[in-house]
């Protein structure tokens, strides 16, 4: 076992790096850049070290004992206020099979994004400060087990993102940044409301026997902790749990983004600098689905079970609507943004299946989409750096001019349309197998298979318009992939191929936790019963 | 004709009115102080007159004596004030001393 607080280290390492960068003079830009890359590389190494010490058989989810690398201490403690009781907030970190893949994904994507940030040339110091702050926020979301802490990290990530889009973005960056910020803030408000509601509904028993209100997610999942007339307690006759679930769900759905809350995504993607698009698509979108699996499912298992059909329906809408909308896009980045909408639909469909296959598929799809879309955005970034154009119709015949670049793009595109042998296939197949295995959403799963046809349609059409055909005169100066870009692409390609050929390690990693999630929600009847016996 | 209470009161009233008139109309602060003395003395007359004609014993006389003492003290303090006003403003004309307005 690891004897030092690895989770805190991995979370706050970027903050330490940020402190150091603060003291570096502005003109040392080369040092700032390479220092950031080193920080993210150490973080990645830590994540791999964490994985190598991770015990695959422990489940986590709602049992603190089976979480790993847990760090817990009292963070905020206020004794005052008679009507509030004591306020006790824990600093509680821990990982299970749901968060480890996400941590891996985040560290990989951040590392590659930091390499991709090499081309930033406008107020470099500020950029990398924000970048590292964002990094901490992202990792924090995936390791926090206290709702309050989770929320803080959730918000922490919002602010640097706003500046990264708003300062280093494209021509309409202010609009996009404000839209992103306000939209996600709306979601955060909903989450905050539910969080407070939950706080006043559930009491944790401390070691000395006193009962206090709690933000601890694992205590919130324990049905016996609910108070008699807590606002979100199932015992409360004015049952607000459905509304709370929907509120929380919308809060997370905005991040996914789920139709009809998705329109911030294309704007943010189009305007954000390449590295930020990569992080946005690769990591931030996963937080929505991660939040649902981590918080909504186990805390509201009773409601979740009733609403699975709706989750699946919105998943299917995302898949088909996103694909069709992507087909009509003229802007390369926007097209990929909409393809993200479509691909995140698979995650929702898999979650709604609520069986081992479906949820494994969903989590795997989160990981795969993270790597594949990251690669797609990097690719668009590469061509934008050279041609300063994102209009699909403006290209053509690049296959002749940039064969290696074309090769990488082809791999990424085919991974995105679920070609067997590449990672996208496994997760999509699992999602469909899972979805089809669930009686109530079977039809939706079948309809969603249309998505794989439409996906092939728009991806191949784009491939043709950009890379095939004749090379326009003006593009015959474009150079092929350089060394730095090789370093970004090759790890991603290797991951995509490896998980396509041999997904077993990743699936084993999450297997226990997936079982636990399914178990928690499936047994929501017992959940209610155990409350009834209070 | 015997001198009765009424006569005393008429005299004191005249004295009071003259004092009041002096206080309101005189410009010189010293004269105003003198007006005040007149009023105090008219009050003394009243006290003594009521004491003589009423059934009050010697209380009236006693109060009159107090008033005289008071008037002396008052005159001393007031003159000191006037002296200070003159020091500061080089005038004892009460019309010109309107600092209170602000």
């Amino acid at each position: 076992m690891i004897n030092f607080p690895i989770l805190s280290l991995i979370t706050f390492l970027p903050i330490i790096g940020m402190m150091i960068i603060l003291f570096i003079p502005k003109r040392q830009s080369l040092f700032i850049k390479s220092f950031t890359i080193i920080i993210t590389a150490i973080q990645l190494a830590l994540a791999i070290f964490l994985l190598s010490n991770y015990n695959f058989s422990l489940a986590g989810i709602n049992d603190i004992k089976s979480f790993q690398f847990v760090e817990k201490f009292r963070w905020i403690e206020i004794d005052g206020f008679a009507w509030l009781g004591k306020i006790k907030i824990d600093y509680l970190l821990g990982v299970d099979g749901l968060s480890v893949p996400m941590i891996l994904l985040t560290t990989i994507i951040t590392f590659i994004a930091s390499i991709s940030s090499w081309t930033i040339d406008k107020s470099i110091k500020g950029y990398f400060l924000m970048f590292l702050l964002l990094d901490t926020g992202m990792i924090g979301v995936f390791v926090a087990l206290d709702f309050f802490l989770f929320y803080i990290f959730w918000e922490l990530m919002l602010l640097p993102m706003y500046f990264l889009i708003g300062i280093w973005g494209g021509p309409r960056r202010e609009y996009a940044a404000i839209k992103f910020f306000l939209y996600t803030l709306l979601g955060s408000v909903l989450i905050l409301l539910v969080m407070i509601g939950l706080y006043f509904s559930s009491m944790e028993t401390l070691a000395d026997g006193t009962r206090v209100f709690t933000f601890n997610m694992l205590e919130l999942m324990n049905p016996t902790n609910y108070t008699q007339n807590g606002i979100l307690s199932p015992l409360n006759p004015a049952n607000l749990r459905l509304i709370a679930f929907i509120g929380l769900f919308i809060g997370f759905a905005i991040k996914i983004p789920m139709f009809p809350f998705h329109t911030w995504l294309p704007d943010a993607h189009v305007e954000a600098p390449t590295a930020i698009s990569v992080i946005l698509a690769g990591v931030l979108l996963k937080m929505g689905t991660y939040g649902i699996l981590r918080i909504s499912y186990p805390i509201f298992p009773d409601i979740t079970k009733d609403l699975l059909w709706w989750i699946a329906l919105f998943g299917a809408i995302n898949i088909i609507y996103g694909a069709l909308t992507a087909m009509a896009q003229k802007d390369f980045k926007k097209l990929i943004a909409y393809s993200s909408v479509s691909h995140m639909g698979y995650v929702m469909l898999g979650m709604a299946a609520l069986n081992t296959l479906g949820i494994s598929g969903a989590i795997l799809q989160m990981f795969n989409h993270g790597t594949i879309t990251a690669m797609l955005f990097l690719l668009v970034g590469v061509i934008y750096d050279r041609a300063h154009l994102r209009d699909i119709e403006g290209f053509g015949g690049l296959g002749k001019q940039m064969p290696i670049y074309t090769g990488f793009t082809t791999v990424a595109f085919f991974a995105a349309i679920g070609l067997p042998g590449l990672s996208g296939f496994i997760s999509e197949a699992l999602v469909f197998l899972g979805g089809f295995g669930n009686n109530s959403i079977r039809i939706i799963a079948i309809v969603s298979t249309l998505g794989i046809l439409l996906g092939a349609g728009y991806m191949l059409w784009t491939l043709q318009r950009v890379f095939l055909g004749n090379l326009p005169e003006k593009w015959n100066q474009l150079t092929d992939v350089d060394t730095r870009e090789y370093i970004m692409f090759i790890p991603l390609v290797l991951i995509i191929i490896f998980l396509g050929v041999y997904p077993s390690p990743m699936l084993n990693l999450m297997n226990s936790s997936v079982n636990a999630i399914v178990d928690v929600v499936e047994k929501s009847g017992l959940f209610l019963k155990s409350i009834g016996s209070l | 004709m015997t001198v009765g209470l009424t006569h005393f009161l008429v005299v004191s009233t005249l004295l009071f009115s003259m004092g009041l008139y002096a206080i309101i109309t005189r410009k010189n602060a010293i004269l105003v102080l003198m007006g005040i003395e007149l009023i105090l003395n008219s009050a003394n007359i009243n006290f003594v007159a009521f004491s003589r004609f009423g059934n009050f014993g010697y209380s009236g006389h006693l109060v009159a004596l107090f008033v005289i003492v008071l008037a002396a003290a008052e005159a001393a303090i007031a003159l000191a004030i006037v002296l200070n006003i003159y020091k500061n403003m080089s005038t004892v004309n009460v019309d010109e001393i309107d600092n209170l307005r602000d």
Partner: protein, 694 residues
């Protein structure tokens, strides 16, 4: 010789071309001669598959060898069960033969391409693509489960996409590649849905396990109907891959790829994968599903045959004839002629590959001229190409002494037997009509290309016989189109080793009630439940009585077709153009391929694109409009609130202050600062008070 040796050997055969692909692709830019490596790999693959075929037939002729390993699995800790997704091989005789066919044609195409593709700027990459194709095709052939088949199914789709669009500078080629992939995906969705049903029902993908569950009575959703649906859905994959009606439109377009690719992928092997799939799932097809398959096959045999009559592109004619022949095979499976279908797959692979490579030879000689109206008279200039072309054409027309006769005649006879047994007479009628059409258009092609006078003198003069590496495959493949390799008796294939010994007879696992009558196991055979329906007396009898009529009729048709072609094009007794003029609408209908492309473009494609545009508009204007609208409303509402605050709320506050100030202004007058006036005021007030309160 152990079974495990064969499994290892097949693993070797599978992975070798993958190695070739990776090495050739990665080194292609730097090492100019890396294509030699790929060719050596494929030759090694070929000899391994020959060895595999030999050892399978010699040592394990009646056993089915299979082996599988877990790919990934899911433990369920709650129920304590484990769900495994497996990868595995299954080698029976069909596998071994198919593997041999694929490896042989792939090798010949590789060698042929060395000459044909010479000078291409992406020479090495071409060979790399051939490598990944061979790998994926071997995967389809070797697999023992439907998921793995689907995986390799998609991978051949990829290699087909890459190879069709190999000359991607041409828009038509890029379009054709995309079209092939997408049209195939339509079929694949059906296949995938079928796989979903199978997995849901049986929790496994393995053919054998599924079959044994079916025979023990486990059905999807417990109904025969859903078993039929499953069969049809799986068959959808074959509709796409084997270019069956209504998804046949991609194959003629796929001729944009290099001609050797057309020979390998779009004639001999990949398109036959659909047939191979149906062969593999034959055991779960109910009578209804078979009928559906038969009808699709019949339509797909007929429509392209009529289109091929009028096409002028040498490769397009061959492409339509491929669809038509694949339709034959599919129809054969539908009517229960399992062995003949696979047999025809094999023979067709050889003679169609020969035809395509022959056409490639012609195209090569004519400097990439594909229009037969500009050819003619090449017979003397390219004798080897000519004769191999003729032999293959005779084979496809089903003339005795050729392999095509054996398999095609068998199919026609089976369809007759089927008609006699079940009353579906359309099958034999259509198959005879198609036989007539096939013979006609093939000889039209030969006559226009090789006979008569050259119509483009300039190109004709430069034409020459192709080099050895291109001719050798032609000769070899044409040689394989002779009967002698399959049976000693040129008129009866059933006596040959390929049917009686090599190709296993099918076993049907569907419930008795959902089979054709003739496929039901008769009661007196209960002790011999394993016996195939092909050996049942009733079927044998029907075949026997259909044998001679079928042979005579089909020969009649073939000879009529050839004769007619000679009359019209060689001897010019009838003017082709005047016939075309007389039946102008029909002619145009055929020339324009029954307007399938136009209809699809106007309906499905237009609908999808239109819908996508509408949705994009909806997204940008309505959904995003609502977001922006709410932002706009909020902004203006806040502006309003701001003004309200500024003028009303703050106004009240300011007014209070102002009012007080005003009062103060009024009252300040009496504040003179003069002691005397204060005193006067006090006294005056006192007097007034006195009067008030007196």
């Amino acid at each position: 010789m152990y079974e495990s040796t064969l499994i290892n050997l097949s693993l070797f055969i599978l992975l070798l071309p993958l190695l070739g692909f990776v090495v050739t692709l990665l080194l292609g830019k730097k090492v100019k001669s890396v294509f030699i490596f790929e060719n050596l790999i494929i030759i090694l693959t070929f000899f391994s598959s020959v060895y595999l075929l030999y050892s399978k037939l010699a040592n394990f002729r009646t056993t089915k060898i299979s082996s599988e390993l877990e790919w990934f699995g899911f433990n369920n800790f709650i129920t304590g069960t484990k769900l495994s997704i497996n990868l595995g091989f299954m080698i029976d005789n069909i596998t071994a033969i198919m593997l041999f066919v694929v490896a042989l044609i792939s090798m010949l195409v590789h060698l042929y391409s060395i000459e044909y593709m010479k000078g291409d700027e992406r020479y090495n990459r071409y060979f790399a693509y051939l490598g990944i194709f061979t790998f994926s095709m071997n995967g389809i052939v070797l697999t023992n489960n439907i998921l793995m088949m689907y995986i390799f199914w998609e991978l051949v789709g990829l290699s087909s996409y890459l190879l069709i669009g190999f000359w991607f500078e041409k828009k038509t080629a890029a379009d054709a590649g995309k079209k092939a992939f997408i049209v195939n995906r339509i079929g694949d969705i059906g296949m995938f849905a079928g796989i979903l049903i199978l997995f849901l029902t049986y929790q496994t993908f393995s053919f054998d396990k599924i079959f044994s569950s079916i025979s023990s009575g486990v059905l999807p959703f417990n109904s025969d109907f859903w078993l039929t649906v499953t069969g049809i859905l799986l068959f959808c994959g074959a509709i796409g891959k084997s270019a069956q009606f209504p998804l046949h439109v991609w194959l003629p377009d796929a001729m944009e790829g290099p001609t050797p690719v057309s020979a390998l992928i779009h004639a001999a092997t990949m398109v036959a994968a659909g047939v191979y799939l149906v062969v593999r799932i034959f055991g779960l097809l109910t009578a209804d599903a078979m009928l559906f398959i038969g009808v699709i096959g019949m339509i797909s045999a007929f429509i392209p045959a009529t289109i091929a009559l009028t096409q002028n592109d040498i490769k397009k004619v061959l492409a339509y004839s491929t669809v038509s022949q694949l339709g034959y095979m599919i129809m054969a499976l539908g009517v229960g002629a399992y062995q003949f279908a696979f047999f025809h797959l094999v023979t067709h692979a050889f003679f169609k590959a020969a035809l395509f490579l022959g056409s490639g030879s012609v195209i090569h000689a004519m400097h990439h001229e594909q229009d037969i109206r500009k050819m003619g008279g090449l017979r003397n200039k390219m004798p080897l190409t000519y004769w191999t072309f003729v032999i293959s054409s005779l084979a496809i027309s089903g003339i005795p002494l050729t392999s095509g006769f054996l398999s095609k005649d068998g199919i026609i006879a089976s369809s007759m037997a089927f008609a006699n047994l079940t009353g579906h007479y359309l099958f034999p009628i259509f198959s005879l009509v198609v036989a007539l059409l096939t013979a006609f258009y093939m000889f039209r092609l030969i006559i226009l290309t090789f006979h008569g006078e050259p119509r483009d003198i300039h190109k004709f003069e430069h034409a020459h016989e192709s080099p050895f590496l291109m001719v050798m495959p032609l000769v070899l493949l044409a040689g394989l189109s002779i009967f002698i390799w399959y049976t000693p008796n040129p008129l009866n294939s059933e006596q040959g080793w390929i049917l009686s010994k090599w190709i296993e007879k099918p076993t049907v696992f569907t419930p008795e009630r959902s089979r054709f009558d003739f496929m039901k196991s008769s009661s007196d055979e209960e002790n011999n439940i394993k016996q195939s329906y092909l050996d049942a007396e009733v079927y044998k009898e029907a075949m026997h009585s259909a044998h001679y009529p079928a042979m005579i009729l089909s020969e009649l048709m073939a000879i009529l077709g050839i004769l007619f072609a000679f009359i019209v094009y060689q001897w010019k007794k009838i003017n082709a153009d005047s016939i075309a003029d007389k039946i102008k609408p029909l002619y145009n209908f055929s020339l324009n391929k029954w307007y399938f492309d136009e209809i699809y473009n106007k309906t499905f494609v237009a609908f999808t694109i239109g819908l996508s545009k509408v949705l994009a508009w909806f997204d940008a204007k309505i959904i995003d409009g609502m977001v922006n609208g709410s932002a706009f409303l909020t902004k203006h509402f806040s502006f309003f609130i701001g003004n309200f605050d500024k003028y009303v709320i703050d106004g009240i506050v300011n007014f209070t202050a102002y009012f007080n100030g005003f009062i103060g202004l009024l009252v300040r007058r009496i504040q003179t600062g003069k002691v005397q006036s204060y005193l006067a005021l006090v006294i005056f007030s006192l007097v007034i008070l006195l009067f008030i309160f007196k």
